[in-house]
Each structure stands twice: as C-alpha cells, then as structure tokens.
Subunit: 377 residues, 2 copies
C-alpha cells in the first residue's frame, strides 16, 4: 500500500505552512522576522501568509530569503485578543486567522500557525476543520522542559476545554502519544495521568475510573501506561506524556511558567547584588546563557491543537522572532512527519474495538483500514 | 473585654508545641535536631515530644538547650508513610501522631507539628479535634515564595480534599485571609480564586458561581477580593491568598516544586560545565546561596491544617533539621498570635449573616459574640 502523499514528500519538495500574520501582540513585523529565521535555515519550507497585503508586502519584499516562498493572501480584519470567540465565528470571515485556518481546510497547507486569541482560534479551528471522527474534545498539547533525553515532555490538555471525562482522557492519551512519537521521535511513549498523588486511591473518583480505560487503550495506542503522576513528575524522566483536563493542565502550565519567571528574576537580583557577583556573572555568562536557553519558554513556543482535521500550532501572543520561528519549526516537523494522517489512523484503530462492539454484525472493515497506519503513528 | 489568654501570654511565659517525633523519613534524630535549633534562638518555646521514650530520652538528654523544656510522652507505635488513614484511625491510638494531636485536644498545647503521613494526620486531626462550627471541609494552607514585600503568598487547599464547592471556597477565603493576617502580618489580605484565565467567563461553571459568594464575604472576612488569578499569579504581587480546591492546589504546589528543582539541577550543571564557570560559581557563592535561600523549599516547610479545633502544622516527610525548625517556628508564631481563637471568631462572624437569615426570629446573640474578635482575626 502506498503511503499517503504527505507522509513521505518527494525529496526537495517544499512543505507549506499557513501563517496568521496579524494576531500577535508584536504585530506582523515580528511574525515575518520569525519566518525569515526559519526560511534561512530550512530550504524545504514555504509559507502562505494571511493578513493586510499593504502591510505585509513591503515586509516580505525586503527579505530576500522569502523570495518565491511566501504567498501573501489579503485579509483586512484582525481578531483582537479580547474578542469573544463566538463573535469571531459570526463576523470573522475576513480576518487573517480565519484565512490561515481555511488554507488547511482547502488542502493548501497541512499545518497553520497563529499567535492570536486562543479561544477564538480553537473555536474557528473546530468549526472550520471539524473534529476527527470519534473525537469528542480536541485538546491543546504543549512541550515541557524535562529530564528526559529529548529534553521535553508532552502535556495535554492545557486549555482547550475546562472539562474532560474518562473517554476524553483516553483520546488525550492516544493523541499525546502520537504527538510524542512524531514530534519527539519516541517509539513507545510512556503515558501518565496527572493526579494529586501516585497511589491508586488518590485522585477524584472520575480520574480513578479513567485509569482503567487509559490502561486498556495502551496496546492499540502504542504507549505504556505508567499510572498516576504528580505535579512534580511533569518535568521528570518517569513519563513522556502527561494527560489531564484543560483546567488543571492550564493551571499547571502557567504555574510552571510563573515559577521559572520568579526564579529567573531572583537570579538576576542575586547576581546584581555586589561587585563580586557582577564579575562572577560575567565569567559565568556562557553558563548562564546555556541555562537560559534550556528553560527559555520561547524555545518551547507552540501549543498544538489535536483532534481536528488539520493541525494548528498556537504560538504565544507575545512571541518575538525567536518564538515564532520555534512555532514554525514545530509546524514544519509535524507536517513533514505526516503527523495528521498518522494521528487520524491511530485514533481510528484505537476506536475500532469500541465500534466493532457496537456493530458486531458488520465486518471489521473500518478497523482493518485504520491498521494501514502501522506502528509508526 | 479581656483578650483570650493565648492571644497575649504573660511576658516570659512559654508557648508549648506538641511534636510527633517519629513520623518523618529521617527519624527522630532529625526532629530533635530541629527542636534544638528552634530552642536555641527562641527562649519562649517548649515542647511536648511524642514517641518511643527509649529512643528519645538519650537524644534529648544530650542537648542542653532542651533541658527542662521538653516533656517526653511515650508512644510505642509509629504511623507508616504508606498506611491507610482509616486503618490508623482504627488502630493508631498508641502512635506518636495520635499523641501529638491529643495534646491539643487536652489543651496542653495549641499547635501540633508532624512530619508524618498527610492523609492519616488529616483524618486523625479531623476525628480527634473536630471541625470548627460551620466548617464543611478543612483545608491545608501552604506558603509560596512571592514578589510581595513579605516574600510569601498563601495558597489553600493544597491537598486536604480533592473537591470544594462554592461554600467551601468561601470558607477557604476566610481561613486563608485569617492565616495571612496572623502568619504574614497583612492587615487586609487580597484574595483571588485560581482559574484558567482572569476573564470572568473563564473557569468552570461552579467556579464562576463561587465568585459572587467570595466577593460578598469580603467585608465580614476582612479581605479584598481581586477576582480570578492564574497559575502564573501564584507568586505574584497581585494577590496574597490564592483559593482553590485541594486537587488543583496540590498539583499547582507540586508543579512549582518540580519546576524549581529542575531549574536548580540545570543551574548546577551549567556551573559545573567549564573551568571558567566553576570559578564564576565560586565568586558568586554568596549570591547563589542567597538565591538558594530564597527559593529553598525547607524555609517554607509547613502546610497548616485550617478549620479544626486546634492548629496542626504538617512538615514535609523528608524534612531535615532546617525544615523541622521552620515548621516549629511557624507553629510558634501561630500559637503566639492566638491564631486559633481569632480564626474561630472570624468564621463565626462571617457565618453569622447566613445563620441570622435562617433564624431571623431569634436575636443576634451568636453574631454579636463573634464580633468580640474585632478587626484583628
């Protein structure tokens, strides 16, 4: 059976990323600067850039590395950071965000990147791309600096929805494992459920019930289930994928970011404290830079929306060129690995037993077709 | 009206702390070493020490500073870290933990300290001390390093119970504000509800409903309600008391601890990387030590159980002498400020309107008595 076209593009063929140029706090010049960085190091990347043509054209024309690789699509509107998602859905057809998502819908690109309003982006993506068959709640996955060899763990959901029941958590486990396989190159990711203790009797009742479901789906999902993990395990080497609901995940993510920011402020103060410590800071510059690089939130910039017909990378609203470029790199990696098709196949295969049970009279055709994804999804 | 006796002890009179000597991972010698540190700097402190007399007596006798200030009570049993709380409640009467709590029950001490099994300690405290009138769920409050002038914020619940409804969150706000007043010296603490965004439409439905209740109790509780706060606000100067359920709070607490531990490992690696950076680390030793002190989890060691007839400080299981001494210091501070009586009075006053509504026909006697606590609770 031939692999789906995007899984293995012809060598030298370009991968097209759809980009919302207008959404971020720093405006389109930061976005274009980010694209320039990505284009400079990656000859296989091209962009469809959505936004105000009068603003974008001069920005793009100035950058030689973007010549012939950046298709500008005019969109007069911008989605504001404070706009209600439902309002954007009704009136946002002319915005750059809408355009960026519709490029996926039209099949012109497989992954879209936006720095805009998360709620609006999620709602637009859900309504325009639709959920994958069998997915109840899409999720946002993030990368978290960790002690694992890849340097990162995956956590989801970090904010798509404030709730998740047992069946949702199983889908998060499947999607997160697929993301870790394609984004981090882990063959058999270890999945844990975030709880308030590792003992089986900890956690809320619905979480204890979900344990069984997540453990049972491990074989079909190609992951190992390691049980409950705690907040302190999120950056640990015990686990690769941390599964939780979007309320808890969002609070954990922001608590981690807030703690890192606090320590880095304290560190700056500590080194500014005396002449001796200023000299020390100068001597330690390389070490401190290396440290900053390891915990720099811009390097892990990009929450990925999972569970839709198309992949959307949500970059931080305040992202600068470095942040945008990190989000674009992630988008490229996912597009090149054929992540979207693999994820869909894996979900279909894992859902098959449930479907088979429901339609026991019919043949196993659906499950069989999904198995075409093989062990790589 | 004379102040309650513990609020203002006669100068020179000692405050007695009840201590479970056996519960911690490092055994009774670490506990006694912690008491020695506290006793050395604080002439007004005395202890009732619960545990195996044959082990404790030689440890105490060796330390001159404890002479005449450490009353040993023999308890042959120890509560294991893995023991089920319900089992401890049925069979734990002879343990040091039980003894430590019963010293409060008997009025020999106002605050108890234990490094033991949190679940068992909470259940024993709840059953032996009973909840304060009107309290549905007790909570565990912790201190969090912050950008505020005091250096700390209060967060609760961090693990007493996995659930909390709107009425519980109001009680957490009242208790947390009272703790911040007495533990951090803040006259009018700012209280926030932990959510996945600061906008009013964020959060789960029950959390949005709780907003109103917490805001309405602000006057009686002597705090200002600042609205929703995010994970990144936990160490911020926007808020003094962060209110959440015990599941979310526990995950936030451990995520913060895990992030701090990860960064401190990365920092060590960064400074060990080259000869130059090792020299830099030597030069920066004072700065690094100051930094470590500011984020040292041992310095904020001590979750406080609130909402019971008596205060229990839960020290970290792995606490060393520094950690134990920090927990004892906190216990002393709370005992000396008359925190327990003030908290009870504040809760009674805040609950009075609800009670009055229920018993409108009767006089305002209950509410009036509680007002005796004045503005200081």
């Amino acid at each position: 059976m031939p692999a789906p076209p995007t899984t293995d593009p012809a060598p030298g063929s370009r991968i097209v990323i759809s980009v919302d140029a207008m959404g971020g706090d720093r405006g389109p010049s930061a976005v274009v600067a980010g694209l320039v960085r990505s284009a400079a190091v990656n000859p296989d990347i091209a962009f469809i850039l959505h936004g105000d043509r009068a603003v974008l054209e001069p920005l793009v024309r100035r950058r030689r590395v973007l010549a012939g690789r950046c298709d500008i699509r005019h969109a007069p509107g911008v989605v504001g950071m404070g706009e209600k998602p439902s309002h954007v859905l009704r009136h946002g057809r002319e915005t750059s965000m809408w355009g960026a998502i519709d490029s996926i819908r039209a099949g012109e690109a497989t992954v879209a990147v936006s720095c805009g309003n998360t709620g609006a982006l999620m709602l637009l993506a859900m309504m325009r791309l639709r959920k994958l068959p069998g997915v109840n709640r899409p999720a946002i996955a993030c990368l978290w600096p960790s002690r694992n060899p890849t340097g990162f763990n995956v956590m989801l959901d970090v904010g798509a929805d404030v709730r998740a029941d047992g069946a949702d958590l199983v889908q998060f486990a499947l999607m997160g494992a697929s993301y870790a396989r394609n984004g981090l190159g882990l063959e058999r990711p270890r999945v844990g459920l975030l709880s308030n203790g590792t003992e089986e009797h900890k956690g809320r009742a619905e979480l204890r019930a979900a344990q069984d479901l997540v453990a049972r789906a491990a074989e079909a999902g190609g992951y190992d289930y390691v049980g409950f993990v705690e907040g302190s395990d999120i950056p640990s080497a015990r686990v690769d994928v941390i599964v939780t609901d979007g309320f808890t995940g969002n609070i954990a993510l922001k608590t981690g970011e807030g703690t890192a920011a606090l320590i880095s402020d304290f560190m700056r103060e500590a080194f500014a404290n005396s002449v001796l410590s200023r000299i020390a800071a100068l001597l330690a510059l390389t070490s401190l830079r290396r440290l900053r690089r390891r915990i720099d939130p811009r390097r892990v910039n990009g929450g990925v929306f999972l569970g839709l017909n198309g992949t959307v990378v949500k970059s931080h609203g305040g992202a600068d060129a470095t942040g945008i470029s990190a989000a674009v790199k992630l988008a490229f990696q996912l597009a090149r690995s054929g992540f979207q098709e693999r994820l869909a196949a894996r979900l279909a295969a894992a859902m098959a037993p449930a479907r088979d049970a429901a339609h026991r009279a019919q043949g196993p055709a659906a499950g069989g077709a999904a198995d075409g994804g093989g062990g790589g999804a």
